[in-house]
Amino acid sequence: TQLLEQSPQFLSIQEGENLTVYCNSSSVFSSLQWYRQEPGEGPVLLVTVVTGGEVKKLKRLTFQFGDARKDSSLHITAAQPGDTGLYLCAGGRVDGGSQGNLIFGKGTKLSVKP
């Protein structure tokens, strides 16, 4: 069974601080996605990484896929209140019967205070 451990579960910081969220597994994934979910809404995709060691940047957000494709991190620089939300990582199965299924982490609830 493929599992994704996400940490920390909760994070409360002041505006302007930096933070990193981690997503770890003992299994290899074909791809790793990060979603952001706001209260009362569904998750929205932020980024997909597919190559081991890949780094992608989205404004103040930096995403990295581990070399072995078992882990990923999300780093936010100079966090703003608008970054508040639930961040979810999700891994694509590598087995042939994946049929598009993703394994989701339990999420990191981020609160950025002004």
Binding site: G42, G92, G100, L102
Partner: protein, 117 residues
């Protein structure tokens, strides 16, 4: 394009009642999914479909049934609701998974908040 829509947005049921949640997508996606989201549990896959007329069980299928009679619609049914089914239900859709470098981006609906008393 509306993307993925879900109806209803909220529902309260009594134990033993039945209901159907409707999901519709206008992106011509092959794959559709039903998840439930509970505090501390993340998103758990209930059932999914890889095309019209086909469905398959996910991680937590017990107590739920699904149907995909039309490509754009995916229905989730609760035949006899139980308090343990109190949750927020999300529908998602995606293009067919590709072999090799798989990109399974899923597009989510806004959710249905269900309370079973």
């Amino acid at each position: 394009n509306a993307g993925v829509t879900q109806t209803p947005k909220f529902r309260v049921l009594k134990t033993g009642q039945s209901m159907t949640l409707l999901c519709a997508q206008d992106m011509n996606h092959e794959y559709m999914y039903w998840y439930r989201q509970d505090p501390g549990m993340g998103l758990r896959l209930i059932h999914y479909s890889v095309g019209e007329g086909t469905t398959a069980k996910g991680e937590v299928p017990d107590g739920y049934n699904v149907s995909r009679l039309k490509k754009q619609n995916f229905l989730l049914g609760l035949e006899s609701a139980a308090p343990s089914q109190t949750s927020v239900y999300f529908c998602a859709s995606s293009y067919s998974a590709k072999t090799g470098a798989v990109n399974n981006e899923q597009f989510f609906g806004p959710g249905t908040r269900l309370t079973v008393l």
